[in-house]
Amino acid sequence: MLAPTILTGAIVLTGCAFYGLITHRHMIRLVICLNILDSAVLLVIVLLGYEPDAAAPIVRQADLQYVLGLPHALSLTAIVISACTTALMLGYAVRVHRLRGTVYVDRLTRWRG
């Protein structure tokens, strides 16, 4: 029961993120949408290692059933990457706001030709 719920949630979150990315032009909102997109993927990654009634993957007894630890390691890495890119994007947004006076992507340059 848990797995389908989380999977549906992740798909809904992805949809929300793409809706936001398409409809919004505010830089901070774009950053938030990308964060939501990352969270959706993270949910699914953690779900992949989940077993009902299994123990945390720290070996204590040989016959105990453990959840798969690899997806957790992956999700940690993905969280770190997501934090880095968020910081970088926010940094750019601050600089663009300071130097160009707007945070709306569509009010910036229209480079043509």
């Binding site: 990308l34 997109l37 890495t77 880095c84 480079w111 030709g113």
Partner: protein, 496 residues
């Protein structure tokens, strides 16, 4: 196959030099000579496998198991002929780009040289890794430092470009991560060699979803139409030397990932038959490639800025490669590898010339560069050769690879594709000749530059290297094509 820890060096050395370069530059010491020398050292290491394989009978691929773990759990680096062919090219571009783009005198808000070391580590890593999640991490390393390279000069336009590029890059990465997770869910493995073995028994829907998402993400990163709109904007505000590195290094590394996933995992023969069976994959790729060729070259025609023209032309080239790749024959794939390697050299060479011209004139508008080449015979010759090669005319290596692509496409029955690729070249003739004409004849020639600036000398060196490769490669085209063919046969798990 040879077991060796050598591939680790290509990633570890530049990665360890990132903090060193950072502290040296913070201490206001002269970081330039040190950085260029170390990047040169890494580049020489990158030449080693190719030279050893060709001259001393080293058997590729080199396999390095991290921490001694096998491919089921650990990360395996695999330096196969594909990597051996592309590593020298990308690393040479990195050394030259770092030397050309170095801001003379002015202090940059972003430390400059650490980014190039990071780019070297990330691109070398992406080219040699055979683990999907590891590839994702390297992809993000490349993305972050290439965005920072777009923005390092610190003006508002550069940050705007960097932001647009970053958003597009992250959407691409998110797709790729979704795809990797789907493949992991289907097979329970992340290592390419294990996934190949387990694919036949995996649920086909998940496998198809995984492949589609990864390829969609890669199409965003390669700026295939309709995911291309970030690229011209992302490169317009960038310093042209960084744009050259992005076109040469980043796109080549992503192309390697695409080949590993599409050809190595599922494409031509073997377990990949599943791929063609479960989804109309080649059809979609063909469609995207055709649209990219048409849109890329036509948009390049109407651009007034040299960087934008080159960026749109890259879209057309990658579209052509996609067209050939979608045919899924080994020979066409080998031609794609050959053309990908050539495109990296040629496009970054032109971007470096553009960097020198834009530094002198303060603009990259083609009209603003009128007469730039008039009294510079060396630059003029190199520029003409590189443009000729990008169009695909003899006697250049670009002709050899484009000809190989067209011949293999026709042999596989894709007459329309061949016409599209040829038609793209015809349009390319027009816009390159127009740019060349303006840069030679229009306007009054101004005074010659002061060659005391070391960057001007490095640019000339880069142009000589690029044009030299273009001419020598034409003579040795059969030889490079043979390396590309062996790269594809190793990817397909054939004789090693």
């Amino acid at each position: 196959m040879t077991t060796s820890q050598f591939p680790v060096l290509l990633i570890a050395i530049p990665l360890m030099l990132v903090p060193v370069a950072f502290f040296v530059s913070q201490a206001k010491l002269s970081v330039r000579g040190f950085a260029i020398a170390s990047l040169g050292l890494v580049a020489m290491l990158a030449y080693a496998p190719l030279v050893a394989a060709l001259g001393f009978g080293l058997v590729l691929p080199l396999e390095a198991r991290m921490g001694g773990w096998g491919p089921e759990l650990g990360i395996v680096l695999m330096l196969d002929p594909l990597a051996a062919l592309l590593l020298p090219i990308t690393n040479t571009i990195i050394v030259l780009g770092a030397a050309i783009g170095f801001p003379a005198g002015e202090r940059t808000p972003i430390p400059y040289f650490p980014l190039w070391f990071l780019l070297a580590a990330g691109s070398n890593g992406l080219i040699v890794t055979s683990d999907l999640f590891n590839a994702y991490v390297f992809l993000e390393i490349i993305a972050i430092c290439s965005h920072a390279l777009v923005a390092y000069r610190g003006d508002g336009y550069a940050f705007e470009s960097a932001f647009k590029y970053l958003i597009a890059g992250l959407i691409g990465s998110a797709f790729i991560l979704w795809g990797i997770i789907a493949l992991f869910a289907a097979t329970g493995a992340l290592s390419l060699s294990v996934i190949v073995d387990r694919l036949p028994g995996a649920p086909p829907a998940l496998v198809a979803a995984g492949f589609s998402l990864i390829v969609a993400g890669i199409c965003v990163k390669l700026a295939i139409v309709p995911f291309h709109s970030w690229k011209p904007d992302g490169l317009t505000g960038a310093p042209p030397s960084s744009a050259g590195a992005i076109s040469g290094v980043v796109l080549s590394a992503v192309l390697v990932l695409m080949l590993r996933v599409l050809v190595g995992l599922g494409g031509i023969g073997g377990p990949a038959q599943t791929l063609s069976a479960v989804s109309p994959f080649p059809v979609i790729l063909t469609f995207l490639g055709a649209v990219s060729v048409v849109v890329g070259h036509s948009m390049a025609l109407v651009q007034g800025r040299l960087t934008r023209m080159l960026a749109y032309s890259s879209i057309g080239h990658f579209g052509a490669m996609l067209l050939a790749l979608a045919l899924v024959t080994p020979a066409a794939t080998a031609a794609v590898v050959f053309h990908g390697a050539n495109h990296a050299v040629l496009k970054s060479g032109l971007f470096f010339l553009c960097a020198a011209a834009a530094t002198e004139r303060g603009t990259d508008r083609i009209t603003g560069l009128s007469g730039y080449l008039a009294r510079r015979p060396l630059e003029l010759a190199a520029c003409a050769i590189l443009m000729l090669a990008l169009v695909g005319l003899p006697p250049t290596v670009g002709f050899a690879s484009k000809w190989a692509m067209i011949v293999e496409v026709v042999r596989a029955g894709g007459i329309v594709r061949a016409l599209l690729i040829g038609g793209g070249s015809v349009i390319a003739v027009v816009y390159y000749l127009r740019a060349l004409h303006t840069m030679i004849w229009d306007g009054a020639p101004r005074q010659l530059p002061d060659l005391g600036d070391p960057r001007a000398r490095v640019t000339r060196l880069a142009l000589v290297v690029g044009a030299g490769y273009t001419l020598v490669g034409f003579v040795g085209a059969g030889f490079i094509f043979a390396v590309a063919s062996s790269a594809v046969s190793v990817l397909l798990g054939g004789p090693q």
